[in-house]
């Protein structure tokens, strides 16, 4: 590839991309971060008149903030747990077993991708209306659970398929029980990718806004939903800034642990690339 790039020349294109993308992508987030630590910032000062943690105290003492944090965490944990329970055995079956209509069922998880998401949510809400699941915790759980299915099945299927089958056979040959083989050979090899899928589905659920807003309101208030009402009705700018910083924490962990999965070529192929 180096033949295509003249090493002696300065990479002007790269510098231009780096500068523009830094300004467009990082700079707005730095502004939000600055607001979160500004005690006083009045127009037209370029930097806050007074830095400090005053608004962390006032934001964290608000009842609605704590309720939304607990609600977001319990929803995401419940959805991720249910998703693991129903998806991981299914992924194992898709990867290792033969049964009628296997391919058809495997690709059925794509059905949701063919439709604009919010339209689909409205169609589901129409069904939930008759089941009294609107404004209900379990209604939101169901709708967010559906959102995790595709990745919680497809990524683990790829993980199970990439496990070295000869190692499993060798372990069987020397007398290991099926459970022992699964626990000591299959799981350690497939584990990291599956863990990344679980983390991504937790983070994805944590940030899911549209289903929570359409199905859950007004009883179910997650952090992103609270953030919408802060943007619309809250005159104190710092509340939203502090909540943004808090809200970004799960993403930070996703970057730390799941970046490898996102950067892999199979990830882009999973989106049709």
């Amino acid at each position: 590839m180096s033949t295509l790039v003249d090493k002696r020349r300065i990479d002007w294109a790269g510098i231009a991309f780096a500068v523009v993308l830094t300004l467009v992508i990082i700079f707005p987030l730095i502004v939000v971060g600055t607001w979160a630590f500004a005690n006083v910032w009045r127009y037209p000062a370029i930097i806050p008149q007074e830095f400090g943690l005053r608004y962390w105290g006032t934001t964290l003492s608000r009842q609605d903030v704590w309720t939304s944090i607990t609600m977001s965490l319990s929803l995401s944990l419940m959805v991720t747990l249910l998703s693991c329970i129903i998806c991981l055995p299914a992924a194992y079956a898709f990867a290792r077993m033969s049964f009628p209509a296997r391919n058809l069922l495997f690709f059925s998880f794509l059905a949701g991708q063919a439709f604009p998401k919010f339209g689909l949510l409205v169609a589901i809400a129409g069904i939930f209306l008759h089941l009294n699941l609107i404004g209900n915790f379990w209604g939101v759980v169901m709708i967010q659970l559906v959102g995790t299915l595709l990745y919680m099945i497809w990524i683990p299927v790829a993980a199970f398929q990439s496990v070295d089958r000869r190692m499993e056979e060798a372990a069987r040959d020397v007398g290991a029980s099926p459970f022992r083989v699964f626990w000591s050979i299959t799981l350690p090899q497939a584990g990291p990718t599956i863990a990344a899928a679980v983390l991504l589905s937790f983070v994805g659920t944590f940030y899911e806004t549209e289903g929570a807003w359409l199905i859950g309101a007004p009883a179910i208030r997650t952090m992103p939903v609270l953030m919408i009402s802060f943007i619309n009705n809250q005159p104190v700018i710092q509340y939203g800034a502090v909540l943004s910083v808090l809200l970004w924490i799960p993403s930070f962990f996703a970057i730390l642990f799941a970046r490898r999965v996102v950067n892999s070529s199979s990830f882009a192929r999973g989106f049709g690339g």
Binding site: M97, F115, P224, I228, A268
Partner: protein, 300 residues
């Protein structure tokens, strides 16, 4: 649950190949996949069919169900609904074009260079994937909103304030483009992986310039990826909710906020579902093409 799949390793590891099933065990596979498959049937396939049926098969004055296109006729004769549809189509088209114009150069640059600077550019291009759209919306208002950071900087440089795109149709455009950069770049980059270095070097050897190489060698080979990226963007943008709801004008509004308001504030589920079915109709070609592309990649 763990010992059930493990019980099948014995047969699955037989030398006959990857997938081995015995006649008496096939139901076990079906049993294991039943829960997620039923969930897809109940919460994706059934709602779509029900949405179409309940908007065309409606009770008339006597309470008898009959075929009627009344709710669709209303949508397509109502000025406000049509204005919302129009702003949605405009936003989707503008975003798709902007995304390709922005992401194709980034992807081309990343494909044909290596080192620390391209790694940094790639990390930046993928970063929005890790910023939820609600934080993005908030950051947008703090920077481009009235008296935002840009105004502060312009004021410091003794320049006039900008006309803020916040609460105008350009607000959602900027937010949605920002939000869709990572996957567009990744999809295009993946497509560019299919362009071999040899074919480009060969063209260069016979004296082809950069533009000629781009137009005659690279673009024909990544045409499919461009279509996939565009379809993905159309599907995501057409019924986007959060960003247009927070950043867009109150009227006309995009289909996402329009459906939400019709459903939750006007308590008119039939009209909301009609709007959803109309959204399905406008996106169906892109949706089927997108799903076909993903499925084809998965098979190979």
């Amino acid at each position: 649950m763990t010992d059930t799949p493990a019980g099948n390793i014995a047969q699955a590891t037989s030398p006959a190949g990857d997938i081995v099933g015995t006649r008496n065990r096939w139901y076990l596979g079906l049993l294991l996949v039943a829960a997620p498959v039923l969930l897809v049937c109940w919460l994706i396939i059934y709602p779509i069919i029900a949405a179409v049926v309940q908007t065309v098969w409606v009770p008339d004055a006597d309470g008898v169900n009959r075929l009627s296109l009344e709710s669709y006729r209303f949508f397509f004769s109502d000025g406000y609904s049509l204005a919302n549809l129009w702003i949605t189509l405009w936003t989707t088209l503008v975003c798709a074009i902007l995304l390709l114009l922005i992401c194709l150069p980034i992807a081309l640059y990343l494909r044909f260079s290596e080192g620390r600077l391209p790694a940094y550019v790639q990390a930046l291009a993928i970063f929005p994937m890790f910023v939820p759209s609600i934080i993005l919306s908030y950051a947008f208002i703090r920077v481009l909103g009235p008296n935002g950071m840009l105004d502060i900087l312009l004021n410091a440089a003794h320049l006039p304030k900008i006309r803020s795109p916040y609460l105008t149709p350009w607000g959602p455009v900027i937010g949605l483009v920002w939000d869709h950069i990572p996957l567009t770049v990744l999809i295009l980059l993946s497509g560019l992986g299919n362009v071999s270095n040899q074919s480009i070097e060969a063209a260069r050897d016979v004296g082809a310039g950069r533009l000629i190489v781009l137009w005659h060698i690279i673009l024909p080979r990544i045409g499919n990826s461009v279509l996939v990226a565009a379809s993905f963007a159309v599907l995501g943008i057409f019924s986007a909710f959060t960003i247009p709801y927070v950043l867009g004008p109150a009227a006309p509004e995009m289909m996402g906020p329009f459906m939400q308001r019709t459903f939750r504030e006007l308590y008119d589920p039939t009209s909301a579902i009609t709007q959803a079915v109309i959204s399905f109709g406008f996106c169906i070609v892109f949706g089927l093409f997108y799903v076909y592309s993903v499925a084809r990649n998965q098979r190979t």
